[in-house]
């Protein structure tokens, strides 16, 4: 006989303690008592999942009687629930794909006393089709493409290059729209404001330029390729700009006017783009700042080459925490809410993805949100987790919580060390649902980790050169990586293997981005070409 304990999935991610979970227990041993009992599981705090225990149980009993290992739990639950779920064995972290029997490792014998904890997660109800072909190779840049970014509403693609220009492309027609010239040096980093109106670009010439995309596109509408000047130039940094980050949509009450920038000179500056002034300069790092994240709770995280990660209060500019976790440069950071913060004022949810209603002019699949909706959406994701990748070949998973009084300066933080890479970690990224962490390393591998516990899940060793970046599809089922070996590879998370190998670039691929609605992905690299994949 086997006991299955069903636990409520951590729908908001933070409830790790057993007591916090609502238990829906079912004992096949006590079948008489529980047969009539209904299983209630609350999901997302909203939709109610009702399961007929007896249905599930009768199968379990039947399976035990016939000597089968375990019943097909997933099929039963899938039939009952409207949403697709992922079921994970808590001990081993294995996902139950076909039957429970398949998921249980062979070296762990089953017996009647064994209690299995199964965790289940709602998954995106839409399915992103894997990119499979290069639909366009667009020349235009005259030097390597260094950064790429789709706008939060998935209407535009911006690319920054070594030829000192930023170009805006229309991913639908696959044509260039506007060339934004003005920088004196390589354009290293791009950031779209959450309302998709502004584009900020940071450059080697120590300046940040703000472009009013909406008016650019309107002024050049119908005229083909236009050329324009920056709305404002933010000067102040003394070395090149390494990272840019906009204030989250809901924190700014929908105004989207504050921008944080990090530079090689070790400072972080907060700008107000309406006034064009530097509000604050945060100087706490002793070496160049490499990554910047503005969390949904108004905390600014910065990673630096002085081996520390610092947390700042974005309002007052006070340094809240200095985390000395790593032994070498911290290269990259990711927040579990990255995807939502990036989408900002827009959403690509089940409704928009599944509906056939497509905006006639642009084919938008993103729906605009109110501030309250955006805040609510973020709150549902639960506590934010921060993952940092370092030159010391490890990653760290950090949770920062304020103390009982909500005081962040007394924040408690827990870290988990994620070891396994044999070379420095260049890029980490959380899956849109926050369940997985993918890390790209110079040891030619991409590793997949559990986003909650930090346990290693699998390694993708397909590249033959350093992997520079990785990015997720919106439904968190696919992962794409760009590498020095000039190829892009797409992995299937559920199958745990290579899904597509996409050669085509003639040289190193520096940047990759998958649009928030998942229709198209873009890559750019040393061969000066921009490639769109569908």
């Amino acid at each position: 006989m086997m006991t299955i304990t069903m636990l409520r999935g951590p729908s908001n991610g933070q409830q790790r303690s057993k007591s916090a979970w609502k238990r829906c227990a079912m004992h096949t041993g006590e079948s008489q008592r529980t047969r009539a009992k209904r299983l209630n599981a609350t999901l997302n705090g909203q939709s109610r999942l009702e399961l007929l225990a007896s249905d599930l149980e009768s199968k379990a009993v039947a399976a035990a009687a016939t000597g089968d290992k375990a019943p097909d739990v997933t099929a039963v639950l899938r039939g009952l629930a409207a949403l697709p779920f992922a079921f994970v064995l808590m001990e081993s972290g294995h996902e139950i794909r076909q039957t429970l029997g398949d998921a249980i490792p062979d070296d762990q014998p089953m017996n009647a006393e064994r209690l299995l904890h199964i965790q289940f997660f709602p998954q995106a109800s839409f399915l992103i089709r894997s990119i499979s072909r290069c639909s366009a190779t667009v020349p235009g840049h005259t030097d390597a493409v260094l950064c790429l970014s789709f706008s939060p509403d998935a209407r535009w693609l911006a690319s920054g290059s070594g030829d000192r220009t930023v170009r805006l492309w229309d991913p639908d027609t696959q044509l260039p729209r506007v060339t934004l010239a003005g920088h004196q040096g390589w354009v290293l980093i791009l950031a779209w404001s959450p309302d998709a109106r502004w584009l900020a670009s940071g450059s080697m010439d120590h300046t940040i330029r703000i472009w009013d995309v909406e008016s650019e596109l309107h002024s050049s509408h119908g005229q083909g390729i236009g050329c324009s000047e920056a709305r404002s130039v933010l000067t102040g940094h003394r070395r090149w700009i390494t990272a840019l980050c906009w204030e989250p949509y809901h924190c700014s009450d929908g105004r989207c006017e504050r921008l944080a920038s990090a530079s090689k000179d070790g400072t972080i500056r907060l700008w107000n783009i309406r006034t064009g002034r530097c509000e604050r300069s945060l100087s706490g790092h002793r070496a160049g700042v490499t990554a910047l994240r503005w969390s949904g709770r108004g905390i600014l995280y910065s990673a630096s080459q002085d081996c520390t990660i610092q947390a700042w209060d974005a309002q007052t500019g006070a340094c809240l925490q200095v985390l000395q976790i790593h032994g070498h440069w911290v290269n990259t950071m990711a927040l579990s809410s990255d995807y939502l913060l990036r989408c900002g004022a827009f959403t690509v949810d089940d409704e928009t993805m599944n509906s056939s209603k497509v905006d006639g002019r642009h084919g938008i699949r993103a729906r605009r949100l109110s501030v309250a909706e955006a805040a609510d959406r973020l709150a549902r994701l639960g506590a934010e987790r921060l993952c940092a990748g370092s030159d010391d070949h490890t990653l760290s998973l950090i949770t920062l919580e304020p103390d009982e009084h909500g005081d962040w300066s007394q924040a408690r933080w827990r870290t988990t060390r994620l070891t396994g890479h044999q070379q420095l970690v260049n890029h980490v990224s959380f899956s849109p649902d926050g369940r997985w962490i993918a890390s790209a390393s110079f040891d030619k591998s991409v590793r997949l980790w559990n986003g909650f516990s930090g346990k290693h899940v699998t390694t993708f060793r397909q590249h033959v050169q350093a992997v520079y970046m990785c990015c997720w599809s919106a439904d968190a089922r696919l992962l794409a990586s760009a590498s020095k070996d000039s190829t892009v590879k797409v992995y299937d998370i559920r199958q745990g293997g290579l899904k597509r190998d996409l050669p085509g670039h003639a040289d190193e691929v520096y940047a990759i981005d998958w649009s928030v609605d998942g229709r198209v992905a873009a890559t750019g690299g040393k061969d000066c070409r921009l490639k769109l994949w569908r």
Binding site: W240, D485, A511
Partner: protein, 264 residues
Amino acid sequence: MPQGDYIEEFRKRFGERPDLSERERKRRAREPHKIAATSKELRGLKAKIFQRERFKDKVRLRKEEHLLKRGETLKKGKTSEDERLKNALPAYLLDREDAVRAKTLTNTIRQKRKEKGGKWDVPLPKVRPIPDDEVFRVVRTGKKSKQKEWKRMVTKVTFVGDGFTRRPPKYERFIRPMALRMRRANVTHPELKVTFSLDILGVKKNPSSSLYTQLGVITRGTIIEVNVSELGLVTTSGRVVWGKYAQVTNDPERDGTINAVMLI
């Protein structure tokens, strides 16, 4: 002989001597006299070298003087900024330029395989043909020595593949000595100016004779195939390049190593 830093040491302890500036001024004033005396004295090559330097100095002085008259300053050469603006790098690679770039093998350098007809656009187009008697030494075997002179010992460096099994000594016609067998070559990438130590996969062609090719004799000008799999080269179709050809540029049997240039 280096005398140590006794002057600096003295100055640190006791300060400069009081008449230092006066002495230096005088030394500077005597400098042209000293130079004139040297230039009169020197003969031969030393004089040539000295005059060359002096000429350069004078050119520089004249230029400076000329610019000074026009109120300009001497222009510096190419700035490092310009140099750096050539090959753009993303933010995450900016600080590790040296470490990462050293091993770069770019893909834009296409692999051209001109196997057909054996036409090679090689760095060493002409090599001296090596006669048989230089490569092979006659080995006398057997008791009735004068008659049995049909074994040959190769006196050049050879490459012997992994799968080679010796034939029975009775039927063995060529001896390739263990001491002259080599498995690795130092291969230089001509465009990147980087050298790698790579495994040899085989001898593609020895220009002197097809027999040498068969035997794996490596002399100057020989085309060898080397294993580049660890360099991570990828063709545009996404496949990993495994073997690449290289031409030997030195005399391996004299140097004890094989130096080669990759053919691209």
